[in-house]
Symmetry: D2
Subunit: 346 residues, 4 copies
Amino acid sequence: MFVVMRPHATPAEIGEVIAHARALGYETREVVQGERVAVGLWGGPDGQPSGRLASLPGVVNLVRVSSPHPLASRAIDSGTTRIEVVPGVVIGGSDVVVMAGPCAVENEDQLLAAARGVRAAGATILRGGAFKPRTSPYSFQGLGEAGLAMLEAARRETGLAIVTEAVDVASFDAVEAVADIVQIGARNMQHYPLLRRAGRSSRPILLKRGLSATLKELLLAAEYILAEGNMKVILCERGVRSFENYTRNMLDLAAIPSLHELSHLPVVADPSHGTGRRSLVGPMARAALAAGSDGLLVEVHPEPGMALSDGPQSMDLEAFRRLMEELPTAAESAGRAMAAPTTPVT
Amino acid sequence: MFVVMRPHATPAEIGEVIAHARALGYETREVVQGERVAVGLWGGPDGQPSGRLASLPGVVNLVRVSSPHPLASRAIDSGTTRIEVVPGVVIGGSDVVVMAGPCAVENEDQLLAAARGVRAAGATILRGGAFKPRTSPYSFQGLGEAGLAMLEAARRETGLAIVTEAVDVASFDAVEAVADIVQIGARNMQHYPLLRRAGRSSRPILLKRGLSATLKELLLAAEYILAEGNMKVILCERGVRSFENYTRNMLDLAAIPSLHELSHLPVVADPSHGTGRRSLVGPMARAALAAGSDGLLVEVHPEPGMALSDGPQSMDLEAFRRLMEELPTAAESAGRAMAAPTTPVT
Amino acid sequence: MFVVMRPHATPAEIGEVIAHARALGYETREVVQGERVAVGLWGGPDGQPSGRLASLPGVVNLVRVSSPHPLASRAIDSGTTRIEVVPGVVIGGSDVVVMAGPCAVENEDQLLAAARGVRAAGATILRGGAFKPRTSPYSFQGLGEAGLAMLEAARRETGLAIVTEAVDVASFDAVEAVADIVQIGARNMQHYPLLRRAGRSSRPILLKRGLSATLKELLLAAEYILAEGNMKVILCERGVRSFENYTRNMLDLAAIPSLHELSHLPVVADPSHGTGRRSLVGPMARAALAAGSDGLLVEVHPEPGMALSDGPQSMDLEAFRRLMEELPTAAESAGRAMAAPTTPVT
Amino acid sequence: MFVVMRPHATPAEIGEVIAHARALGYETREVVQGERVAVGLWGGPDGQPSGRLASLPGVVNLVRVSSPHPLASRAIDSGTTRIEVVPGVVIGGSDVVVMAGPCAVENEDQLLAAARGVRAAGATILRGGAFKPRTSPYSFQGLGEAGLAMLEAARRETGLAIVTEAVDVASFDAVEAVADIVQIGARNMQHYPLLRRAGRSSRPILLKRGLSATLKELLLAAEYILAEGNMKVILCERGVRSFENYTRNMLDLAAIPSLHELSHLPVVADPSHGTGRRSLVGPMARAALAAGSDGLLVEVHPEPGMALSDGPQSMDLEAFRRLMEELPTAAESAGRAMAAPTTPVT
């Protein structure tokens, strides 16, 4: 149940609602959406008695949410949550944001070449993994903290915001210190301690759909983060497991409008992991925008043939540049525009 | 193996190639693509000896095709096969074609209302099932031949070409007599007697991907049709079975550029069956075009709430009209335009 | 709704029920299960009024069946339907029946060698395909009617009953004339004209689960057969499509007890197609019996390395003989015994 | 590559192999299997030169393993690895071990009642979760350390060994201090920091297959543990995600003989999670043993209707007792026997 307060409700009004709800036996959480505040109530007595709650000062109404993931549900917000990553870069607004870069940070030259290239082509966020979860223990596992330092240097140099993955609670602090968006990967979508830690972060969280997660499970994973107080969650469709072998995963683009129906959280797509084939990334990037995606995550490598991971699905810089020229029309077909490049650092 | 002939090779030249190949023990098939002819060879001796084939008059070269579906493979044609459904309506050309109409033909009024409405909105082909394969023996199974007559009447009235399904060999003749495109449904994608019958038809065949068919299996099903001599096959992605329950099927849009990589056959998408939810049809229709689809199959019903089948995924005429306004930009993002409406019948 | 009659109800009593039900607007079907008769009612007025039906002579009670597949549902029979294939060979009784033989009938010698071998090892039914549905149009498609004649000869020689596949309505008569059980393959599970034809046959039908069919869809396919009047349907679990590549299909053994919960129809398993690997057939055959399977379908070839189809999943005769020695204990773990070999033909 | 040493090779012989291999540029790991030792080599020069390795004292031969998971592969051991959990309780030996108990430890009475009951019925290991990974943040998440204490008390009282789950690195020490087997759950199968921590544990690890993990991915996850030095890994098939809704998961019993082909590690099955329905647990438990499973994991609750988690798939004590009576015959069908109950604590 949510107690929806009038705009600009006073702290005293909110406090009285919370005190009253707790007296009834509820746990409470304040949910801030711009100027609106709602107080979420959990647990509490059977039959959800609400006593005088509806008539307390500042209360507009009570919303009973039957959703298993109330904080993530569409019921509490009719718009898409706007997440300001850094000043001027918003995910979930009218403009579509492109995050691009290599799968893994390999060395300073590779990362800077990628960063400059994707920036020149119009991307506003740089992706790159410092900590890499790999299926085989014998594969390259990422540069770790050294990779984070390279990402930081690339941001200084290019002004691009940084999205990079945290693979466990132990390394979360280090990642959070550098990342503008902290990514939680598909394999960790149901690693709850990591979700809870993300929920206590001040950074936006990019939450990737698990390899065979239903939309409901993805939203319940988001709910773990939201329930800890971090309302800045970006959902990411990155393909699910299927019987089809031509592609690495099956990119479920219907997830984009479906998640927009079910939730107020912004949704982005990863056509690189979603297909596993460079030649399919362009068509699926366009398709994702036409389906209403709030952004894209694209793997770009200065020399895909030399990539330490995910080479076959990485575009080179020239292919990425051409792709970026095709995207405005695709975005327009869904009533959107591409985000303007950020001002260069001077 | 294919023996590729020079443009405008003479019948005598082609005949000599065929005779020579048969003498070597091959089965042969002439494949005509516009002005080019190739002679396909199957079976034959181990090690594929070709004797003097390469040096016969009119022979340009020999192409060894390792594909399990040589006639459907990209190897034999670098372009997309253009299929002229009726004069002026081409699938696989530069323009995108929309086929729209009700799931099932229910009565004359319903069909005519749908036909007029989708025509006014810009569709060029009318879809509607007279024979309906239904999961339950107790569900409405279609009007059969009476439904075909209604489709014929709708064509006379509106000038729209007709696509309708043949569910078995027994009713194929009747369907073929009326249809401009004969559809083979997902459940019948591997009913080989029906595929072979379709291969002996002069009509274009719309072949839907099976409920859990791989792309390779879809192309092998197409090969059954092609191998009987009918080169006019249109592939249709309509969603595959998955673990996700929010949508009826999982629309695998990556199949569109994938099939274009693997095959010269045109590819269309069915976002209605592909999602099972009316609210998702628009975004997925746009996405299909952005992914490079050569056309769309959309369920439209004058009164979706009254539909005898597939109501939840059918749009009403007004929603379809709005969708058609969004499509040109989506098509443009893939370098395509929408097909112009056919000239009204006078 | 079913009107359950007393044992040995008279034709007059049954006739009165039918007449009364039709007067109420229902369609009716007589369902005979041994000495019990029930009258199934469909359609009819909203709210299912039953008038004086319950009080007519010979009526025991009315059973309202909410199942979408009432004739196949557990509600109409608490036991397993016993299907007598030939005198002395019963599927669905206390004993487990093994059907074994080659995937395809290839020639007389191969078939006879297989038939004698599986008979000696204890199988009671010979399997072998004369009509073969194959994914590729260029693969061996079976010997057709010549293969049927070889099956007939093998039965004369060995006394084994025959199960063989019908792939379409056109060849059904020929198959039915020879087969003791007519198989409908996985790819045709939703080819409804074939199901309806099977429903008008006097032979038992072995209905294989489709490649990605749910249990409900399998039972609805069975319902098509039952609704035409043929109550002798044997369900077959043969593996479904999955993301796992080590095995050809994923054998869903839980389908066996699940189908026994949902339906009164007997259930058999095909561990050969279900795994696609010879080495796994034995363990999965044992497992199927332990799970309560009423029978097995096993591919056995005198020389698997020479098989024209499905060689990798075919056992040789010696391996099959050893398997048959392991099965009685597996059957016993589910409270069952192996069917005794049929008396040799003299 | 593995350098296989003669039985009872001396430390000096082994040391010389290691020194020589490192001089060639390899990383090395000693693998002890009973009295046999092999030295695994990784990395190293291209072309895998082995210099004088084969001729060093004590070396029997060099085995080149092309497997992506060499330590888990069948190539290094033709038998099944026997894992002695506590004195007298071996998984992977000739006898089949049953682990049973509640999904979650709820309180002392519930746990003790379950423990006494499953012990009386013949189980040798008690399962019960103190830390519970739950899909929803609002579900009961387990008693944590208090639950561990209850498990410890139940072991003192009944003599049963304990298997319980570790959900993250942070709580691993606490779990390891109490557990005789540490379980890693399906959702964490690819949480690599946890796998590495498990690899540094002295406890046997029960590694559950991920919700849509291939067998290869399961073995690569095991390899993470093995590569850290813990060779005591038990694989667990617990059902995978599928399109079928009647069961909670699809129990892939073919995984049991498949994993035995691919790996020397023991394999157990969890028919409770594998089906999600109490009524199916018995048949699938029997089937798992018939397929060659080295053990079972069964959810048993004194009052399933009151369970805080997984009630619908939990058996009561009486049903479990009856199941245990059916299992010896199922085990016998695979040439196995049931493990004898451990001696009661006196």
